[in-house]
C-alpha cells in the first residue's frame, strides 16, 4: 500500500511538472496574490459569503459565549478586561503572530489567548485544536473581517520571520519538496484534483469541508508537512509559529476572511 501510494504521488508530481521543475523560489509579486477564496467553486464561495450558511459562524457564536463566560480562579471573563470585542479586538488578528516581550518570541492568536488565561484569568490553557480554543480564536479573528493583514512591525520579530522564510524555502522530507515548490512555483496548477493555491493564510481558523470542523493554520501546516513526508512538529511549536509569521508577511494587505470556508 505504502509503496503504491508513494508511486502514485510521485507520478502525480511528475505529471504536473513538479519534480523536474527547478525551484526558482521566486516570491509571488504582490499584484498577483490571490486569496484561497478565488480558487474555490462558486457554491463553496456562496457558503462562505452567507453568514447563515457558513458553518464557521457556529464557532464564532460559541466563541462569543466563551468571551463573556468567567473562567479560572481569578473569576474573570475576557469581556471583564477587554470589554466589547467588536471594539477591542478589531484589527488584532490582522497583526498576529505578534511579539511577546516577556517570552521574547512571537506568539500566535491561540497562544495569546492561552497566555491571557494564564496571566490574567489564572485558568488552565485551552487545548490546541479543541472546539473551545478554535471558537474563541474564530470569534476574535472575525472582528477583523475585511481588514487588511498588517503584520506586527516589532524589530525583534525580524529574525523569526527570516527563520520562517528559511523553513518555507528549504527542501525537506522524503519527497524533497519545499513549501515554495508548490506555493510559489506551481500555485496555478492542481495536485490530485485540488487547486494548489498560494498559501495566503487570511481566513483562519477556517471551516474546512474535508475536516467537517473549524481548524487552525497550524493544523493546515501540519497537513502539508505530512504530505511532504517530512518531520512534523507539535501544535504550538516555535517552528510553526515562525512559519505562520512568514506566511502572514507574504499576505500583507490581503483582507481577513475569518471564518473562511475551504474545500
Amino acid at each position: 500500500m505504502k509503496v503504491a501510494g508513494t508511486i502514485t504521488i510521485v507520478s502525480l508530481l511528475i505529471a504536473t511538472g513538479f519534480i523536474f521543475h527547478p525551484v526558482t523560489a521566486a516570491e509571488i509579486p504582490s499584484n498577483e496574490r490571490r486569496s484561497g477564496y478565488t480558487f474555490m467553486a462558486p457554491d463553496t464561495r456562496a457558503m462562505q459569503d452567507d453568514d447563515t450558511a457558513n458553518p464557521g459562524m457556529l464557532g464564532v457564536l460559541d466563541g462569543e459565549a466563551l468571551w463573556n463566560r468567567k473562567a479560572g480562579s481569578a473569576d474573570k471573563s475576557c469581556a471583564d478586561c477587554h470589554g466589547d470585542a467588536r471594539v477591542s479586538m478589531k484589527g488584532v488578528a490582522a497583526r498576529y503572530p505578534a511579539y511577546d516581550k516577556l517570552l521574547a518570541r512571537p506568539v500566535n492568536l491561540e497562544q495569546r489567548i492561552n497566555l491571557c488565561r494564564a496571566r490574567h484569568q489564572d485558568a488552565e490553557p485551552l487545548p490546541y485544536e479543541k472546539h473551545d480554543l478554535l471558537a474563541l480564536t474564530a470569534f476574535v479573528a472575525e472582528q477583523s473581517r475585511g481588514m487588511a493583514i498588517a503584520p506586527d512591525s516589532a524589530p525583534e520579530l525580524e529574525p523569526f520571520v527570516a527563520k520562517g522564510r528559511d523553513f518555507f524555502m528549504h527542501r525537506q522530507g522524503q519527497l524533497n519538496l519545499a513549501c515554495t515548490s508548490c506555493h510559489d512555483d506551481n500555485w496555478d496548477k492542481h495536485l490530485a484534483g485540488s487547486a494548489v493555491t498560494q498559501a495566503i493564510p487570511n481566513g483562519y481558523p477556517v471551516y474546512r469541508l474535508e475536516w467537517q470542523s473549524l481548524g487552525s493554520l497550524q493544523r493546515r501546516l501540519r497537513n502539508c508537512i505530512t504530505g511532504m513526508r517530512a518531520q512534523n512538529f507539535d501544535f504550538g511549536a516555535q517552528e510553526l509559529v515562525e512559519l505562520e509569521l512568514y506566511l502572514m508577511s507574504r499576505a500583507r494587505g490581503m483582507p481577513i476572511e475569518t471564518p473562511a470556508v475551504r474545500p
Binding site: D50, D51, T52, P55, M57, L58, L209, S213
Partner: protein, 106 residues
C-alpha cells in the same frame, strides 16, 4: 454548546415563495469509524428535523449517517400569514434542540 443559525425573511408579501435556511451545530458521528485501538466510535447523529409554521407542520426530514457535520437544511414555503416558524432537531443520546423565527406577511 449548541448553536443554530436560522435565516427566514423578516417580511414577505402574501403568497410569496420564501426560502428558509437552517444550520445546526452537530458532529454527526457516523458510527462507522474506529479509534486507533480498533473500537467503534459510537453513532451520534441528528435523526429528525421538523419545521412548523404557526403550529402546522410544513417540512420534515429524516437524517442518516451519511450527512455531513453541522447539517444545513434549506427548503421553500409559501408565506400565508404573519407568525412564527418553530424548528426542532432530534437525535441520538437524547439530543433535542429547538429554535424559532418570526415573519411579517403583508
Amino acid at each position: 454548546m449548541t448553536t443554530a443559525l436560522i435565516n427566514v425573511p423578516k417580511k414577505a408579501k402574501r403568497g410569496d415563495v420564501i426560502e428558509i435556511k437552517t444550520l445546526m451545530s452537530h458532529i454527526m458521528e457516523t458510527g462507522y469509524r474506529h479509534t486507533t485501538s480498533g473500537q467503534i466510535v459510537p453513532r451520534d447523529i441528528i435523526t429528525s428535523f421538523a419545521c412548523r409554521y404557526n403550529g402546522e407542520e410544513i417540512f420534515r426530514a429524516d437524517l442518516f449517517p451519511a450527512t455531513a457535520a453541522n447539517p444545513f437544511i434549506s427548503f421553500f414555503t409559501v408565506a400565508t400569514e404573519s407568525g412564527k416558524f418553530d424548528f426542532e432537531w432530534i437525535g441520538d443520546n437524547g439530543f433535542s434542540e429547538t429554535a424559532a423565527a418570526s415573519i411579517i406577511v403583508e
